[in-house]
Amino acid sequence: MLGKLKPVEPTYDAGFGVYVHWPFCQAKCPYCDFNSHVRHVKVNQQLYIDAFQREMKHMAELAPNRVVNTIFLGGGTPSLMDPATVAAVLDGIAGNWQVAPDVEVTLEANPTSVEAERFKGYRLAGVNRISMGIQALNNTDLKALGRTHSVDEAMQAVATAASIFDRYSFDLIYARPNQTVESWSAELHMAIERAAEHLSLYQLTIEDETPFKKLYTAGKLILPDEETSRQLYDITQEICEKHNLPSYEISNYARKGSECRHNMVYWRYGEYAGVGPGAHGRLVTQKGRAAFAIEKNPEKWLEYVAQDGHGIVEEEQLSLEAQGDEFLLMGLRLVEGIDPKRFTALSGRRLDDERITDLVNERLVEITSEGRIRVTLTGFPVLDAVVADLAA
């Protein structure tokens, strides 16, 4: 390894991941503000394969000699990719970096029957983990959320996934309009019966520039109040814990050892290359840690990559303060918490002992026997305030 390419920060072994964004969906869901586009003509996947490969090459030049621990194909709807496309993307990664023998390769999928038919192909292409966006287990709510599958179809897809993959997970959205603690508990129990090792359970958030935002602003979409939302959160912790799927992050639950390694790279503030329209990356180059953002519009992105070999539209050298903030924002989401020494190494300052003491006294934060700082179960529901307190 060339001396000058040596990273200037201790990585603390947070790993290296590659994120690939497939920016197309068959329909847009009204709550979603991710980078997804609906095209009414068939997408020429070969164009995207070529562009992905060129952009990866560029990323590998920025961050060479890494060993890829995890790969995540997210979207959009990556399960709209042909298995051959997925295979080509994975080949591209292997051509640019060394890949760890136990690499985790996750693909996000919609649980429709059409897509489930491709699961086998994905397995053959190298995917070893499937994450399905089921979102609700009752048909009325599925419809309200703009999902195109039914509960039966989703359960069928879960069964298919279970027969093909050792590891699979699915997402549910809760704290939906009119949801009660009782109805959600019932739904969650049903989900846990079908879950294997991992569940992502997100509270519905109203994002800007979504149809839900308009409805919400107009008063036509009423969310559970703060108190109900807190009760929903608490009951979720309790039920998952009881069923041996403890939370390891704000919204993620897994059996011990079955955590999503890719997301762990983000949360542990590791390094990741983002490839494809709208992807984000954090790479440590000679100049230090930098944030990268890729052009969101798929066609423009193709153009940029053809022109420059990459679609990077934002590159920000992160200041010490920004790195410290990002580290707290991500790390404190984890039940394992953060190592304050790494915070100091990244930000060049120490966390304020007095604030920590106050937070510990309020039982919002605790210090583990290894000296890690972690947010408690009482602290998690108000995590944003805890982070702001520590970061300020």
Partner: protein, 601 residues
């Protein structure tokens, strides 16, 4: 300009309620006597002076020297003294009036006598002025000159039979006003051969000339090069120039008895010149100072703090600049646990406070938090010491207090009959004592003695609100009286917030404490923990509310590896925290202080 015999000088001021036409009449007088050319008269002269005032001499007297050829064929010098009309500047007004022998009482012929008119006319009568009554706006359809004349006779007790009906706006009958000034007002008296004795009427700061001093010569004469002495401060200065305002500044060789004019003498600060002081010749001083000289006494105090702590030095500089020109405004550094570093400021009254605050924010672009206004309490300690308390936060331990005295005012309120009940109720609620109630036509005149500390909060706003804006109000400071006053402290999360503490009457402490708690409960945003908000007298809690803890505040999902978006939100949160005041573990937004101190219940 040639010297004019003293018999041909008339010095007068104009007494009027705001909007009754004082400025317009002054303009007409200047125009008719040719003080300014037609071109120069394109705008209201006093209005243009107002702009001048806003730039530095807001609360200053102005004077204009007019030459008028009267019907008797002689030329007269008329000195119009424009005085600030507000009660906050009562002392300054009294000095301006002392420089004149007569006043024009201008009353709007449709609106009649107002509380402010009354107060000012009494000041003029106190100064032994002859009064010429002028009924303005007689051209308006709503004008009722006969009714208003009757009112003037009933309420003020002045003979209004010779009142001059005019319209300052159209210029109707203005000459009759000039004639009345010449024929009905007395000329000044003075001895030109006696040692110099001049009244320091006012002063202001000019960037080019230094301090300009407005003077009225009583005896002797003042000239360029003369070494003069301020008898109140014992300081001596050499006169650099003297002259008059026409209203332009015109240099003269000499000012003689009866004349009103200016001097400059390399005086650096307005604070070096005391309004009401006597100016004499250093070598040949007069035997006695003029009566009525008083040092300035601030009566209302409040703390002013920069919203952004980084602006502290700017605030200090701005206050220094204001003080250059306004010696009646005082400030000293204060530090508050809640608000950081700022200044405790003294003002002549509530209007003065507002003017200074307004100027600091407008002219110096400073964002300020003002604490609740408070008055000066005289505290008699058990050990015999006397403490003047300007800041409730400095209240001594009640164990050592023998007696607290608070300032009382005598308020004159004029209100339409239909609001009388509400006005009386307001005064009673504020511990008022009714002194008199009489009727002036359909309007009631109520005189109340009130503790000033009940007035400084929001009395004026409440009065306007209960009378739909129709009641008018004026007051004079009367005396100090003992009062059963206690210090009400506000505790947030068990820590006292000094900026919110106040002295209140024991009987009103509980309701005020409860109101404050209720307000703070809504103003303090939920934190990660429960925050008790308490009102206390000494160690005794008299009211309590709770700010509930935040129950949920967490971002459910982070999009892919897009931490930047979350970081931007965090930056906003951090920025927001800077606008908060850290209080123990509690962060209180600036707005909460401002809102809590507004006592609009």
């Amino acid at each position: 300009m040639t010297t004019i015999p003293i018999e041909n000088i008339r010095n007068f001021s104009i007494v009027a309620h705001i909007d009754h036409g004082k400025s317009t009449l002054a303009d007409r007088l200047i125009q008719l006597t040719g003080g300014l050319s037609a071109r120069e008269m394109t705008e209201q002269v006093l209005d243009s002076m107002d702009i001048e005032k806003e730039r530095g001499i807001t609360i200053k007297a102005q004077t204009v020297r007019l030459n008028y050829k009267a019907h008797d064929g002689k030329t007269y010098i008329l000195n119009l003294m424009d005085t600030p009309g507000h009660v906050d500047f009562a002392y300054e007004v009294s000095r301006s009036l002392a420089a004149c022998e007569g006043s024009l009482l201008v009353v709007d012929a449709s609106q009649g006598v107002e509380a402010q008119t009354l107060a000012n006319v009494y000041h003029a009568l106190d100064a032994s002025h002859e009064i010429v009554t002028v009924l303005n706006k007689v051209d308006l359809p709503a004008a009722e000159p006969e009714r208003v004349k009757q009112q003037i006779e009933d309420v003020i007790g002045l003979d209004a039979s010779e009142a001059v009906p005019i319209s300052a706006k159209t210029g109707l009958n203005i000459e009759a006003v000039l004639e009345a000034i010449v024929t009905r007002l007395p000329s000044p008296k003075g001895d030109v051969s006696a040692p110099l004795k001049a009244l320091l009427v006012d002063s202001w700061y000019d960037a080019y000339l230094g301090v300009i001093v407005l003077v009225r010569i009583i005896d002797g004469q003042i000239k360029k090069g003369m070494k003069v002495k301020m008898m109140g401060t014992d300081a001596t200065y050499e006169v650099e120039r003297c002259g008059v305002f026409t209203p332009k500044m015109v240099n003269m060789d000499v000012l003689t008895p009866g004349e009103v004019g200016f001097i400059t003498a390399s005086i650096k600060e307005v604070a070096d010149t005391r309004v009401g002081d006597t100016i004499t010749e250093d070598k040949k001083p007069c035997a006695q100072m003029l009566a009525g000289f008083k040092p300035v006494q601030p009566v209302v105090f409040c703390g002013l703090f920069p919203v952004d702590a980084a602006d502290f030095e700017d605030l200090r500089a701005a206050m220094g600049r204001l003080r250059l020109n306004d010696a009646s405004f005082s400030f000293e550094m204060e530090s508050s646990a809640a608000l950081g570093f700022g200044f405790r400021c003294g003002f002549l009254g509530l209007l003065h406070l507002e003017i200074v605050q307004e100027r600091l924010s407008r002219e110096f672009d400073l964002n300020l938090i003002a604490t609740a206004p408070s008055v000066v309490y005289d505290i008699k300690m058990r050990n015999g010491d006397l403490v003047h308390l300007h800041n409730p936060a400095d209240m001594p331990d009640p164990m050592h207090i023998e007696e607290i005295n608070e300032p009382w005012i005598r308020a004159t309120i004029l209100t339409p009959d239909e609001y009388l009940g509400s006005v009386i109720k307001l005064c009673q609620d504020r511990r008022g004592e009714q002194i008199d109630l009489s009727y002036v036509g359909s309007r009631a005149k109520v005189i109340y003695d009130l503790p000033l500390n009940e007035v400084v909060f929001d009395f004026y706003d409440r009065l306007k609100s209960v009378s739909k804006g129709y009641a008018s109000f004026d007051y004079v400071i009367r005396e100090y009286r003992p009062g059963d006053l206690v210090k009400l402290s506000m505790l947030v999360n068990a820590e006292p917030v000094d900026a919110l503490s106040m002295l209140v009457h024991r009987t009103r402490a509980e309701s005020r404490g409860r109101t404050m708690c209720e307000k703070l409960k809504d103003l303090i945003p939920p934190h990660m923990f429960v925050i008790p908000v308490q009102a206390a007298i000494g160690g005794k809690i008299i009211a309590r509310e709770t700010v509930r803890a935040m129950r949920k505040d967490v971002t459910a999902k982070c999009y892919g590896g897009d931490v930047s978006r979350k970081r931007k939100l965090l930056d906003k949160q951090k920025e927001g925290k800077k606008r908060m005041r850290q209080f123990g573990k509690v962060e209180i937004p600036q707005e909460a202080f401002i809102a809590a101190l507004k006592m609009d219940n």
